[in-house]
């Protein structure tokens, strides 16, 4: 994503450092646990007015209405109605990544392997770059952040690219020298009376791969027409090229076309998926790629209808290294790594960074991203752990040199404990000398806890912080926590404390006990002690204190709110749509239970594919 696009996208979550929050959240309430509509901004669902509403969490001002008690509230849950009919995404479009992988897979299938496909993919770059990039910015419900898969728009640029790519692939494969590879010896032998059969066999074989299900007879007849006439006098490679182009232009290739199989009793217009459709869901969910031979074979045999066979295939799919790579995509969006800010080159920043600022800032940024993805990989796949460990574990994956230097030598005073993902540099980097506690707090409140924050007053962000001789916390408190102000209603109760708790790390993610203050010329003009003691109000009526980041993430993990929120996130990623609490309650609750402790992270990932909603579709 370009810098500008990202700037626009990030406005919602990051514009809050200045003044009375600016725009903390976009107006669509994108991370709100919003009952039936992503456009709702009410605090419902977990911690709200959903099935497990908690006192004091529904008021727009966020203030605790009831008596304050220093105990942890009960964890949020979702209500499951097994007869509810979840909505279905209309004709789900493959993401840009899924589509590109499907093109590669089709070419590899036709040419007999990935190695043979590689030069063709290189030759296709001119066409492939026309495919619009899917990113969270194209998710209308939440342009400030969600998952790339939710970008389901169909612009003219998509259709143009699909067509151009299909024709380009056809031109590449429809070459005389490739006829034998594509069609077999029947295409290159001296006989011509077998050519029509040879072409038909190719259409069936290649078509099944592209369609991800067997072609019916009428499909075969239809794609024959791309050849451009009867097959006589030898096979025309250009005709084969057009067949390839036709098949790659098919809606069955570009979309996940699902017709369903068996009506589900008592649930109007809900059908179980056919085995081939289920195979596609599995493959695209966990590999971002179409089903392989083995999965197609199991689907073709019908064995995927059998729960035990299905679970075996699911286990095989998850054991494939592609599953880890694909889940990186989810974690990258979950950690909002695309939002990593640029870094100032001002004199003040250079003085602040000192010798820790490497010559190559891109290398440091890359290290920061890699650290978080490695952290999640390790907890999900290598030594599977619970979701809470994402919040609390001090596990340290091997770090790049630039990041290791920044963090300090283990055992030294600068090498402070870093529990969970929120204390890693990628989550702390502000790009400027000062930290951004409002942005940090808003991110946690909205994105990690799935609470909503009321929109700020107009132009709130335009009042600069008065930072003279003040720590960042002191300046933020001065500006936003004055008793009786509209600012304080949200900042004091919902936002700031969550950000102050990690003020023991500076704007580059280094541990600190004092905050150094710089003037614009880079001269250090003073120091202020760091204060990380807060009442974070993870649940708004929870008045327990946290003395710093370790306490904060412990309270968060204990609350159950991040787990319920994570269930929403993984639901959105899986089904490429916003959740609706009532009809989707069963799936959400299954995921939440897994995240709370019933499953390790790998199990949470797996459990979504075992949910009935994953195996069926409504046709309203």
């Amino acid at each position: 994503m370009s810098h500008t696009t990202r700037t626009l996208v990030l406005v919602a979550l990051t514009s809050g450092l200045l003044g009375c929050t600016g725009t903390i959240g976009d107006v669509t309430g994108d991370a709100a646990p919003a009952g039936s509509s992503p456009s709702s901004s009410a605090a419902a669902g977990p911690g709200g007015s959903g099935p497990t509403s908690e006192p004091g969490t529904t008021g727009p001002t966020g203030g605790p209405a009831g008596p304050v008690t220093p105990v942890a509230p009960s964890a949020p849950t979702f209500s499951c109605d097994a007869n509810a009919v979840p909505p279905s995404l209309p004709l789900r479009r493959l993401s840009d990544l899924q589509y590109t992988n499907a093109v590669r897979d089709a070419i590899a299938f036709a040419l007999g392997g990935d190695a043979a496909a590689a030069p063709v993919m290189t030759a296709l770059q001119g066409a492939l770059v026309q495919l619009p990039v899917d990113d969270p910015a194209h998710v209308p419900e939440a342009p400030s952040g969600s998952y790339s898969r939710l970008a389901q728009d169909l612009a003219q640029a998509h259709a143009d690219a699909y067509y151009a790519i299909a024709v380009a692939v056809g031109a590449q494969l429809g070459r005389r020298e490739r006829l034998g590879t594509l069609l077999g010896t029947c295409a290159t032998d001296a006989a011509t009376d077998n050519d029509a059969t040879c072409v038909d066999a190719f259409i069936r074989r290649f078509g099944e791969r592209v369609y991800r299900r067997p072609l019916l007879d009428d499909d075969l007849a239809f794609y024959r027409r791309f050849y451009g006439g009867a097959v006589t006098g030898g096979i025309d490679p250009a005709g084969i090229g057009d067949i390839v182009a036709g098949l790659l232009s098919s809606p069955y290739f570009i979309y996940m076309v699902e017709h369903g199989e068996t009506a589900q009793p008592g649930r109007k217009n809900v059908f179980s998926l056919a085995p081939q459709e289920l195979a596609s869901r599995l493959a695209f969910q966990f590999w971002d790629a179409p089903p392989d031979d083995a999965l197609l074979n199991v689907a073709r045999s019908g064995a995927l209808r059998d729960p035990a066979s299905y679970d075996r295939e699911l286990a095989r799919v998850l054991a494939d290294p592609r599953a880890q790579k694909t889940l990186d995509e989810f974690y990258s969006d979950y950690f909002r790594l695309q939002d990593l800010p640029d870094v100032s080159t001002s004199n003040a920043f250079k003085a602040f960074a000192g010798t820790d600022l490497p010559m190559s800032m891109p290398a440091l940024r890359q290290d920061m991203k890699k650290e978080l993805l490695d952290f999640a990989r390790q907890l999900t796949w290598t030594t599977p752990a619970r979701f809470a460990d994402l919040l609390t574990s001090e596990m340290a994956p091997p770090r790049g040199a630039a990041l290791a230097a920044l963090y300090g030598t283990p055992g030294s005073t600068t090498a402070a404990p870093r529990p969970g993902f929120l204390t890693r540099a990628a989550m702390l980097l502000s790009g400027v000398v000062r930290t951004r506690p409002i942005a940090k707090g808003a991110f946690i409140r909205k994105w990690v806890l799935c609470d909503s924050i009321p929109p700020p007053p107009d132009n709130a962000a335009n009042t600069p912080l008065d930072t003279k001789n003040r720590s960042t916390r002191e300046a933020v408190e001065l500006l936003t926590e004055q008793p009786g102000t509209a600012c304080a209603a949200c900042h004091k109760t919902m936002i700031n404390a969550l950000g102050f708790a990690t003020e023991s790390f500076d704007a580059l993610g280094r541990a600190r006990t004092v905050e150094r203050l710089f003037d614009d010329n880079g001269k250090e003009v003073g120091q202020r002690p760091v204060n990380t003691s807060v009442v974070p109000r993870v649940a708004l009526d929870d008045m327990r204190t946290a003395s710093g980041p370790a306490d904060l993430v412990r309270l968060m993990a204990e609350s159950g709110k991040p787990q319920a929120c994570f269930a929403r996130h993984y639901f959105r990623y899986t089904f490429a749509r916003w959740e609706s609490d009532t009809p989707d309650g069963c799936t959400l609750e299954r995921l939440r239970k897994g995240a709370v402790g019933g499953e390790d992270l790998r199990g949470v990932v797996r459990t979504v594919a075992q949910a009935p909603a994953f195996k069926e579709r409504s046709f309203d």
């Binding site: 209308p140 003219q156 182009a245 069955y252 400027v432």
Partner: protein, 506 residues
Amino acid sequence: MSEPLRPTTSRRQVLRGAGGLTLGLPFLPSLLPREARAQSRLPGPRFVAMATDHGALRGSNMYPGADGLTDRMEVYPGHTIARGSLQRRLAGTSASLSPVLTAPATLLSDRLVRKLNVLRGLDINFYIAHHRGGHLGNFAGTSGGTAVKTPIVTIDQVMAYSPAFYRSLEGVRQRVIAAGQDMSYSQTNPTARTGPVTPVRATRSPTTLFDQLVGVPQTTTTTTARKPIADLVLEDYKRLRDGNRRLSMSDRRRLDDHIGRLDDIQRRLRAQTRTCAGSTRPPNGLSDGTNTTNRAFYQSLNDVIVASFICGTSRIAVVHASSGFHDYTGDWHQDVAHKFTLSDPQRLLVEANQRFFEWVFMDLLAKLDVDEGEGTSYLDNTLVAWTQESGYWTHNAQGMPVVTAGGASGFLKTGQFIDYRNQTMGHEVKMTDTLNIPFEEKYEWPGLTFRQWLGTALQAMRVPRAEYEQPDRPGYGDPYSEAQWNTKYVPGVFANAGSVLPLLRA
């Protein structure tokens, strides 16, 4: 075999763009024999929308001085506006209308100044904050308040699908060239005018745009001797939509949307036997986003737009420029745009916007200002408009600056600085006095509505009001206006928002 769109001439005008790109324009109609010119008919006006992020430029930085406002006029009872003729000021090799509107004197020439308009005081009457489509009338999907929720198509799309604009699609490869960042919004089935409104994916590659608009088509079929497969692909989608395999209603609507897109491909393929001989393909790898790359990137885009206009493969372009016309490497959004009240950030904003004006906006004007025939230039037959995301204040769009060029084929009067703010009233914005801002900058004066500007642009493109106006909603765009603002306008401002902006009609 391709055939030239128009007869080639031995006298080509070659425009050299920055960044080393040379664009050879294939023809000049004025060079055609007189008989041919007499028979020629210009295709109709063209529209280019350019937009930049943020804004928040002080009036004294963005606009010509008030001393240039020589005339006053009461346009509605109680609302007086001011105007004057644009006059450039020379300083060495530079010419300027204001600190932002500054360029080399050879570029900001008297000739081009006479084709500009600088419009001040066009208001989006609510807190819109950050937006993409607001420039062109889609006031929803913003990061600001909750006022406008329903997205609507942007005016470029209204033009693109108006029979009054594209009277013929002969030779048109793209109804709208969308480049840079997303800014244009259309329905998912724009031909049928059905479906939700979604962003039109903007192209980020001048090279790709060139191939699509100007170059010899590469994708008509696998070999040039064969018939394009588009007809069969279209049939494939209809086959699924109309077949007896189980689909939901929304599945079928989705197929309809795709079929609409395929229809457009099919139409263009029929037109693609023409090509624009002589144009040069931009190099691969151009990218935007930094001060060192933006100039070549956007000037290459300009080259492609101009070539497309001259070839007749499109008549609308929308270019949403990225930030990055600056060397600042910190957080531009937080530490410059949001700190616009401070002197250093304001200076950076002026520098960045001046670069856009000179490098992109004026570059396009110069390239368009070549003879199209009938005594006019392409620029004369185009309306180019540059808008910024915010008005006087970051996040606010009261006083959206609009700089236009070109007369839209005789529709617009040019060469003017018009201040639409009501010169007889004002109200103070809540802002402390400690910010050391000149008195005049602390006041927002209600002007006319941005909706009226959008309607003016549509009418300049000959789109009848009946095609786009909703009952009781004159102009274009959601008419929502915050109560605190409503009281500041005289009734005539809203009632007449459907008319062409005062003093602009030629």
